[in-house]
Amino acid sequence: MAKVLVVDDAAFMRMMLKSILVKGGHEVVGEAENGAVAVDQYAALKPDLVTMDITMPVMEGIEAVKKIVSSDPAAKIIMCSAMGQQGMIVQAIQAGARDFIVKPFQEERVLESIQKLVG
């Protein structure tokens, strides 16, 4: 079981992810709707894992990954991406994200990815 911070600008996506995570026995300790909030939340909540959307207003996912990893090099961040974002994922991984999952989310693949990182 991991404590997870869910970051996505679409409330709808957060709901989807949350329900997958909860079903998988994880605990969603926080939600953020943009990168800036995510950085603050990470510092405050110290989650085991972060799921991070890439395109968001205010602060994009990659920027947030950079900020979080610079404060905690051991941070485990999974990027939530979609078709068309290959270049972005690569940048996110370069910035320190550990893995990525692809929308639309498939439950078992999301949980597998988390398992591999925290298990």
């Binding site: 600008d9 679409a10 409330a11 709808f12 996506m13 709901m15 989807m16 329900s19 709707e33 943009n34 990168g35 800036a36 395109t55 207003p57 205010v58 602060m59 994009e60 990659i62 920027e63 991406s81 979609a82 078709m83 068309g84 974002q85 290959q86 270049g87 972005m88 994922i89 690569v90 940048q91 991984i93 370069q94 893995d99 990525f100 692809v102 929308k103 639309p104 989310f105 693949r109 597998e112 990815s113 591999k116």
Partner: protein
């Protein structure tokens, strides 16, 4: 599971579509503005993600194509052309159709296949132009043999005592972004050891499904073959792994293209407003809450009444305490009512946002040039009102563009700027919302209006003579009136100004018109802030209490019987040089008229401008906040009655529907 999300999905969909509308227009106006392209791209991207998750395959396809195309625009690989803008608008229209299909399963199904094809074709053409040179270069690629430096690296690693393997990594077929997956694998390998070569390079991998993909790495590390195989096997999307030790002879057959520089990432959005803290609440719940508050208001008036009678009967401290409690309760209910009302309010921006696109299409269609200015988008009003006022407003705007504004040629002849101007403004004015639609067009010609009305038999020729200009102009609100010479596609589709007017009056609003020939026309719409609770004037008619919505009332006067005269069989009264028809509510509702011979008759003047009626009542009681209740399904809609309310003494009072009184008066 998906159903619970549908509502949230639809709401966000609506937001995103509006954003798209706004930004495509901006793109058209400003050319390839980075901000607009970026926002459009993001909107398409978000929609693609959510619609895919909801299983709306067509919407996903369409947004995917849009996103793809916008990505090219963003990377400046494709220029912003009128063709591109039209294509984006077309796609947006189709998205709206798809959305309607989701909301209402009976709505006509949108066929997006042509649209998707058009997007693909557009992109293909753009790509062909841009990449023909690159394609030539790529075609000549063969797997290069290991360079001398590669071979040296292998040698070096072996000398360090590291093991060097050829890793063959089969990627699972369900992996969709293979390039990124390859990069993750390579990153992990680099953590465990060193990647000397990767083939194919992740940058060369296309997105999307491929039958099978095998990545080959030249890897150096300390692990045993089994150990590294297991590690790689544990990574996401890895189907199978082979690890074979490398001998020098073999290394000479390996292949790797050189990596090109990656495109740099766009700047993160810096200028953005922080989101206010909000939760989404369904309108049903707010409606219910409003209803409950309404009940409280009614009960509170009753408590006050009881308290008053008690006070008259008993001199007791407990009665005065009841009074204190009742006063306090009033205040709290007042605050509560205001808060709930505020919770139901939305900025009118929601509605206004539709207009720029509409104006753009209209002006193209009609060959007119105009500039739209909008003010007061943040003016808030009840969300039901926003929905209800949309049609009348759209009608007014269409009329203004179609009939009001002249074509550019005529404007120049008349010494006006070529571009017409249309202003839509909203503002709060003493507890009401006022919306103006103003154009600087030809104005309305009272002479033409009179002639046209006489032609159509709306007024007689004699009547036409007696009408003032102002009265004449108001004829456009009469049923059956339309001055359009030809029926254009835009206005004159049978929905006349009379419908606009009665629609607004149903909302307890008023519409007024100001026009100057050759200079322009201004429509002014006044609306209450909310529909559920109104201020009403309580009047007595034949012993029964009736309520007239305050928003309909222009003034209240007392006249003597002698002031009421007869004109062509219609009782009228002259107030400030205006002839106003007098209507007796007794007659209207066929109640017995026990008219006592009073010297003064109270008249309630309702309506506005030319269209006024003087209602005869027996007594004026006073004004009060009332909660509108429907009469219920059993009784249904009654002509002339807008609803009912419960008064302080527990009795039911009917609320008059002023708009229908006018209708019946016209019908006579």
């Amino acid at each position: 599971m998906l159903n619970e999300y549908k509502e949230v999905f639809l709401e966000e969909l609506e937001e995103q579509l509006q954003l798209m509308d706004e930004f495509i227009l901006k793109l058209e106006r400003e050319g390839g503005s980075d901000d607009a392209v970026q926002s459009l791209f993001r909107a398409a991207h978000t929609l693609k993600g959510s619609s895919a998750a909801m299983g709306y395959e067509e919407m996903k396809q369409l947004t995917h194509r849009m996103e793809h195309l916008l990505d090219r625009v963003r990377a400046k690989k494709t220029a912003v052309t009128p063709e591109l803008i039209d294509l984006l608008f077309r796609s947006l229209d189709n998205l709206k159709l798809l959305k309607n299909g989701i909301v209402d399963s009976d709505a006509p199904r949108a066929d997006i296949s042509d649209n998707v094809k058009a997007l693909e074709a557009f992109e293909r053409r753009a790509e062909e132009a841009a990449t023909s040179a690159a394609a030539e270069r790529d075609a000549g690629w063969t797997r290069p043999v290991l360079s001398l430096s590669d071979r040296l690296k292998v040698k070096e690693q072996k000398e360090k005592g590291h093991r060097v393997y050829w890793l063959s990594v089969g990627i699972a077929p369900e992996c969709v972004i293979q390039g990124a997956r390859a990069y993750v694998i390579q990153t992990m390998l680099s953590e465990w050891g060193e990647v000397l070569l990767a083939s194919p390079e992740y940058e060369s991998l296309e997105e999307g499904y491929t039958e099978s993909l095998t990545l080959t790495y030249l890897y150096a590390g300390t692990q045993e073959a089994d150990e590294i195989r297991e590690k790689v096997q544990g990574l996401a999307d890895v189907a199978d792994v082979k690890a074979e030790p490398v001998d020098t002879a073999e290394t000479e057959m390996a292949a790797v293209p050189q990596a090109a520089d990656k495109p740099t990432m766009e700047d993160p959005q810096s200028a953005a407003k922080s989101k206010s803290q909000t939760i989404r609440v369904s309108v049903d719940r707010l409606d219910h809450l409003m209803n409950l508050v309404g009940e409280l208001v009614i009960d509170q008036t009753r408590i006050q009444q009881v308290e008053r009678t008690q006070r008259r009967r008993f001199q007791d401290p407990s009665v005065s305490e009841l009074g204190h409690i009742s006063d306090h309760l009033s205040r709290i209910i007042g605050d509560l009512q205001e808060s709930v009302m505020k919770a139901r309010m939305l900025p009118i921006e929601q509605l206004f946002n539709r207009f720029p696109r509409m104006i753009r299409d209209l002006s193209r269609e009609l060959g007119k040039e105009l500039e739209l200015t909008m003010e007061g988008q943040d003016t808030e009003l009840d969300r039901t009102l926003i929905e209800e006022i949309a049609d009348p407003l759209i009608h007014l705007i269409r009329n203004a563009v179609d009939h009001g504004l002249e074509s550019p040629g005529i404007r120049e002849q008349r010494g006006k700027p070529r571009k017409g101007s249309l202003a839509i403004r909203a503002a709060h004015e003493d507890n009401q919302v006022v919306i103006y639609v103003e154009d600087d067009g030809a104005g309305i010609d009272p002479v033409k209006i009179k002639a046209s009305a006489a032609d159509k038999g709306i007024i007689s020729a004699e009547e036409a003579e007696t009408l003032s200009d102002r009265e004449a102009i108001h004829l456009i609100f009469r049923p059956g009136f339309s001055t359009a010479q030809r029926v254009s596609d835009v206005s004159g589709r049978g929905v006349g100004m009379d419908i606009v007017r009665s629609h607004i009056e149903k909302l307890n609003g008023l519409i007024d018109i100001e026009t100057r020939l050759g200079e322009g026309t201004s429509f002014k719409i006044k609306l209450p802030l909310t529909l559920a609770i109104i201020v009403g004037l309580l009047v007595k008619v034949n012993g029964q209490t009736l309520i007239i919505p305050m928003s309909n009332i222009a003034e209240i006067v007392r006249v003597t019987r002698g002031d009421i005269q007869n004109m062509q069989g219609q009782p009228v009264v002259m107030i400030r040089h205006q002839v106003i028809p007098v209507v007796s509510i007794h007659d209207r509702f066929r109640s017995e008229n026990r008219r006592e011979e009073k010297s003064q008759i109270p008249l309630v003047i309702v309506g506005s401008a030319e269209k006024r009626l003087a209602l005869v009542v027996d007594d004026l009681i006073g004004n009060q906040e009332i909660v509108i209740k429907s009469l219920g399904a059993y009784i249904g809609k009654v002509e002339g009655i807008a609803g009912a309310t419960i008064l302080g003494d527990g009795s039911v009072a009917l609320i008059l529907e002023i708009a229908s009184l006018f209708h019946r008066n016209v019908g006579q």
